[in-house]
Point group: C2
Chain length 208, copies 2
DNA sequence: CGCCGCCTCAGCCATTTGGCTGATACTGCT
DNA sequence: AGCAGTATCAGCCAAATGGCTGAGGCGGCG
């Protein structure tokens, strides 16, 4: 069996070395590079051409994980991308999958889960942690509550406290469009105000 | 020099093994036990009597890190406790120090910082990551940023997504008074909108 | 006592937000 | 070709929010 090459992208040094130590115990899996930011991940992916990229979504300064995933996919260099992050936010899950992630693992996943996800990813399988799967499953049961990728993106920015104007500037759309998206989000979340949407997003979506 | 014994408490397996691998490279430091929860940390600390306990604050289910620190200190068994966590929330810092933590490190700390913190802790020194120190320093410089009890109460309800009218009803005060309190809160938090205040409250004050 | 911080309230005005209706365009699927 | 879903934008109007000034009552503290 061919050795699976892995690139780790996480701004926490201890997480990288932990993951590296863990994956190192498995024959057939080798960590070939480590990145501490989205930019670095893109550069190192180009150099090493790993089979799998394990990516944190929240990476301190600069490019975030979602953006890095998008750009990796645009290159079409065939890596399987696994999200490896702390929280199981509905919005993040939707955005990550939309960006092209193959799997979604939480950082409290067991070693077995992690190995299975890496091996599965190179074979084109999607593996996700149980809580993540549960969230998705729950969403499938009432489709009206599913936010579109764009809506999820907006909701995520909403929790940063931005105004409609700022949201528009950040997403390169007009304020009118922002308001349209917000109205849809409110309807889907079952709230009437921006504040309640933020509160709901944070408490229900795990954006802690 | 005597070997420094360390207990790791963190619900993320990869963080524990990363920290263990990292500390293992240092002669004179040895990880003697690992706990995945507050309860486990208490039990293992009793068994092994480590010189230093490195503790995450947010540990999935059960007892959280703050509570575990308090109980460890009550026993008076002389361990130095280092907080090792992801976020630098003002509230968490204050609570951790109050509970008896000797130092406060963020997970993106460099290996050198971590080694220095462990060695310093056994000698009774307090070591904290730069962003943490910066926050504390900032608070000491302008005490005006401290919310009054009433303001804190309002801010807490604000994060539930209530409107001014609802806030007034809930607190038995007029909408005008609500607005006054809000204006003061915005000034102290350095924001201009309700949404930003909610975001700040949640992210900075640890009301997750 | 007098000062100061906190909590309370009012009115005015500009800005922001939310509700509504309707419209164009692109995509994927049938 | 036609439909459904998504994303984009516009205009209008009512309601909520935020900024500003001013003010009374109350409790602690020098």
């Amino acid at each position: 069996m061919k050795t699976i090459t892995v690139l780790l992208a996480d701004d926490h040094m201890v997480v990288r070395s932990g993951l590296k130590a863990l994956l190192g115990t498995q024959p057939g899996i080798e960590v070939v590079a480590e990145a501490a930011s989205g930019e670095e991940a893109l550069a190192l992916a180009g150099q090493h051409g790993p089979a799998v990229v394990m990516m944190d979504l929240a990476m301190g300064a600069g490019m975030d994980g979602i953006e890095a995933i998008k750009q990796l996919r645009q290159r079409n260099s065939g890596q399987a991308i696994l999200v490896f992050t702390t929280y199981d936010s509905d919005a993040d899950i939707v955005r990550a999958v939309d960006a092209g992630a193959m799997g979604y693992l939480l950082k409290d996943a067991s070693p077995e889960e992690i190995f299975a996800a890496v091996r599965g990813a190179v074979q084109g399988q999607s593996v996700m942690s149980a809580p993540v799967a549960s969230r998705l499953f729950q969403q499938l049961r009432n489709p009206d509550a599913i936010l579109t990728p764009r809506e999820a993106e907006l909701l995520s920015l909403l929790t940063e406290g931005l105004s409609n104007r700022e949201l528009g500037q950040r997403l390169f759309i007009s304020e009118a469009t922002v308001k349209t998206h917000l109205a849809h989000i409110y309807a889907k979340l079952g709230v009437e105000t921006r504040s309640a949407a933020i509160a709901t997003a944070i408490r229900r979506e795990g954006m802690r």
